[in-house]
Amino acid sequence: MRFFSELAKGIVKDNPIFVLVLGMCPTLAVSTSVKNGLGMGMAATFVLICSNIIISLIKGVTPPKIRIPVYIVVIAAFVTIIDMAMAAYAAELHKSLGLFIPLIVVNCIILGRAEAFASKNNALNSLADAVGMGAGFTLALVVVATIREILGNGTWLDIRVLPQAYDPMLIAILAPGAFITLGFLMALINIIKGRK
């Protein structure tokens, strides 16, 4: 049953954004709309799953001294694959995520999980870890994006939720809104943790 506990821990207990505070750049930059957040979350999850499996499979033959460059090459290869796949099949999403797709390479979550988990565990558990962490990352992105899109645009996933008369709080979808939203969300999580 270890498989399921590894899978579940990434979603709430060790959530990469809210608890481990990793991978802040894409979280703040692409959470302007739920659609972008979902796209980014899924792209990162794909890279995370593939790289975790490969790294856990080659852990026996990787010389410890050059392991970080090896991990980076594995991760960069999958990032290039998803970058080109998205450019071909989801051109619009690819354009709005822009620079942040190649930058998945330096996302601390992926290298962090490779170093902390996949290099020490077997492929099955690494897969569970990657799925859980990916889901936790996507969930966090969607939560932040939901708040920002509803406040800043009055819509959720392009569906209008607030009445036409609502004057959108533009600041929420601009850069400062990203910081402030995430700041208050983290404070909220601290309050909930403090209660327990």
Binding site: I68, P102, L170
Partner: protein, 202 residues
Amino acid sequence: MGYLGQIFVMAMTAIFIQNFVLSRFLGLCPYLGVSKKLDSAFGMGMAVIFVMTLASAFTFLIRRYLLIPYNLEYLQTISFILTIAALVQFVEMVIQKNAPALYKSLGVYLPLITTNCAVLGVAILNTKAFHADGITPYNFLDSTLNGLLSGVGFTVVLLAMAGIRERLEFSELPKSMKGMPIALILAGIMALAFYGWMGFKI
């Protein structure tokens, strides 16, 4: 507009208007992680300026003389990140050997820089950057200069943040706001101030 004017525009853009941290969201991990003390923020800032300048120069050469002539542009991400990793390692070794004092103050930050997305970010942005006229792409000098100036922009906000957070240590905050939440809200307010440079219109 002469070349000096162009440089001035580039400097204003890189440091204030399109600041790497506050408006492009690059390099947030060191921005939030190393901004607790002013001296460590200064060390990190200097190391980032150094590596960003070198990385911009090297990635430009690699792209122009290796990737484009051989139609290997799809290898851009891999080759750039490997260049940066090798460069950081190399810089670390050189500094350790020739300037032990500098190594002591910068050393701990250098390995962290490989995964600083501002460095890879500036390398990729340089490949897509154009001058104000929208036609001439950046040449070698422009790219290197842009790397240097973007690093300066990063350092400016990192130092400002560290200065504020040092004083914040002594203020009474609600328990839930301590640490990361207040740092993020501070960053938000700073970003709001930097919007003033853009001349933002609704």
